[in-house]
Subunit: 175 residues, 2 copies
DNA sequence: TTTGTCGTTTAGTATGTACTAAACGTAGTA
DNA sequence: TACTACGTTTAGTACATACTAAACGACAAA
């Protein structure tokens, strides 16, 4: 690697680490992704150890997380027991993958929690009428907001089939 | 408060706490917002202490954070030294406010970090040519992705002026 | 089988942070 | 002035978690 370019790369890696922990992810993830993203060839775990300064254990767990989110991709070479990884360069694909990940876990729980609360409230006659009505109203407003988010999210996840032209259309409306 | 409704409310509060810490925010924030959102009238700090079980200190700092994000709003009553707070019920307004908050802080730093890297790279002639070209290509791809995000984000922030019809249009395209 | 090279897992550690408890500052009230 | 009722700030604590170091398991080669 050219020494002139090294500080620039290092700065980029630091920046991505910052973003990473800003979004609540381990900063090692950001660093690993940054290194892979600026690498012309897939890298092995040991090479990542070399480049990031993290230990193999940390690399192992973070790499698994990044794979699960679709931000990096394992590359296997025949007759080579090492695992190699490369960065996903299609960010829209990565965004979809991340949304899919997050969606399933916690967001759904929140949505169904609200839905459950509403149906319980509607079932509980005999309680204070005005307060009950108020709670139902508030929760339904929240629910419709969640629905909008859900529509948006699942729309984005289907974005590959809709084609990149869709993104342009949306941006044109918003611009 | 009707005792029949209490467990439902409590369940909702717990759920919002969960979401809150899932998104990297203190779970106390979620709880406070939930309590305020389900309250017909604005609540004072001491009432929030009562409802959430947190101490006044924690309430104080979390309430400040929620205000800054635009998720709740202070309400002052004449001839009453207490501060009261109520939840923002326009979630789109809250989203805009949160985006504005996040945008300014870390995202911009990332964007300008990439831009800076690119211009440094373009200035550093004499270095390894093929690698330099590769880095520039990758960073420019990342930059255009950031630009798209930025366009989207600032568009959402201007969404009140564009009107709610815009949201409908966007969702129609995506649906 | 033994040996070496992988990735994974585990136990321990350090760091950040959200909280509690209590002191504090401030502004109305007697 | 002293007193009271607030919200804020600070010092300390508990807890979560991302990491290190090292043991472990799997697998291919000798």
């Amino acid at each position: 690697m050219d020494e002139t370019l090294e500080p620039i790369r290092q700065n980029f890696v630091d920046g991505m680490s910052g973003i990473s922990q800003f979004w609540g992810l381990p900063k090692g993830m950001g660093a690993i992704f940054a290194v892979l993203y600026l690498s012309p060839a897939p890298l092995s775990l040991d090479e990542l150890v070399e480049e990031t300064g993290l230990t193999k254990g940390a690399i192992s767990t973070n790499v698994r997380g990044l794979s699960r989110m679709g931000l990096i991709r394992p590359v296997t070479r025949l007759a080579d027991r090492k695992d190699y990884y490369e960065a996903e360069t299609d960010f829209y694909k990565a965004v979809r993958s991340i949304l899919k990940e997050r969606q399933s876990s916690e967001f759904d729980r929140a949505v169904s929690s609200v839905r459950e609360a509403i149906s319980k409230l509607e079932a509980s006659a005999g309680a204070d009428e005005s307060e009950r009505a108020f709670l139902i109203e508030r929760l339904k407003a929240l629910q419709s907001f969640f629905d909008a988010l859900d529509t948006l999210s699942s729309a984005v996840m289907r974005l590959d089939s809709l084609g990149m032209a869709t993104i342009q259309n949306v941006l044109k409306i918003l611009k």
